[in-house]
């Protein structure tokens, strides 16, 4: 596709339910990022993949959060036993190159708005 695609666009989950959020990055992009954006705030870094390797997961708020990118393309962010504080927009971004200090543009998807009730 032409851009980063995320699905679903909206997800309502009951507290305690598991959810899976999908990201299709731009084809050929090495780097993939997940961010969490609370209402009225800037995006907060969650995790980073270079191809299939998860190089940084320091931003994941708890062990209920898990991300994978098994073939170095599509990525899934899974949240187990969702809590109300997990309600946010989850953004995925990809960039062409990988590695630290690479000044390459990160392209963002439209995000998945998760509401936990």
């Amino acid at each position: 596709g032409a851009g980063v695609s995320q699905s679903p666009r909206y997800k309502v989950a009951k507290r305690g339910q598991d959810v899976a959020l999908r990201c299709d990055p731009i084809s050929g992009h090495v780097s993939l990022f997940w961010y969490q954006q609370a209402l009225g705030q800037g995006p907060e870094f969650l995790t980073y993949f270079q191809n299939e390797a998860q190089l940084d997961k320091s931003g994941l708020p708890s062990d209920r959060f898990f991300a994978e990118r098994p073939e170095g393309s599509v990525s899934t962010l899974k949240i187990q036993r969702t809590q109300q504080e997990d309600s946010a927009v989850y953004l995925c971004a990809s960039s062409l190159f990988g590695g630290a200090h690479m000044n390459t543009e990160a392209f963002f998807g439209q995000g998945t708005r998760l509401t936990v009730v």
Binding site: G42, P43, Y48, H101
Partner: protein
Amino acid sequence: GESVGLHLPTLSVQEGDNSIINCAYSNSASDYFIWYKQESGKGPQFIIDIRSNMDKRQGQRVTVLLNKTVKHLSLQIAATQPGDSAVYFCAERGPAGYALNFGKGTSLLVTP
């Protein structure tokens, strides 16, 4: 901890005027900065970037200024248009070298 922040949460300008959005950063080791525009219901959209070895960079109707002495970043938008109405974020490259650290954002409202 060190962070990126914005001076003004909201900015209202008239169509045709120039807009200036400011950002302060505290990590002197930051070497790369980006401005993003985010419209309602959409993901952040890249506007312009600047490396720490530069003071100024110009794009189409936008200019980013970097003052490393006072750790200040600004985005100037010339001849602001209604389509420029959005939330603007500055972001800096974090210590790890790939994650972006975003500020809280400034909401720009362009009135006719």
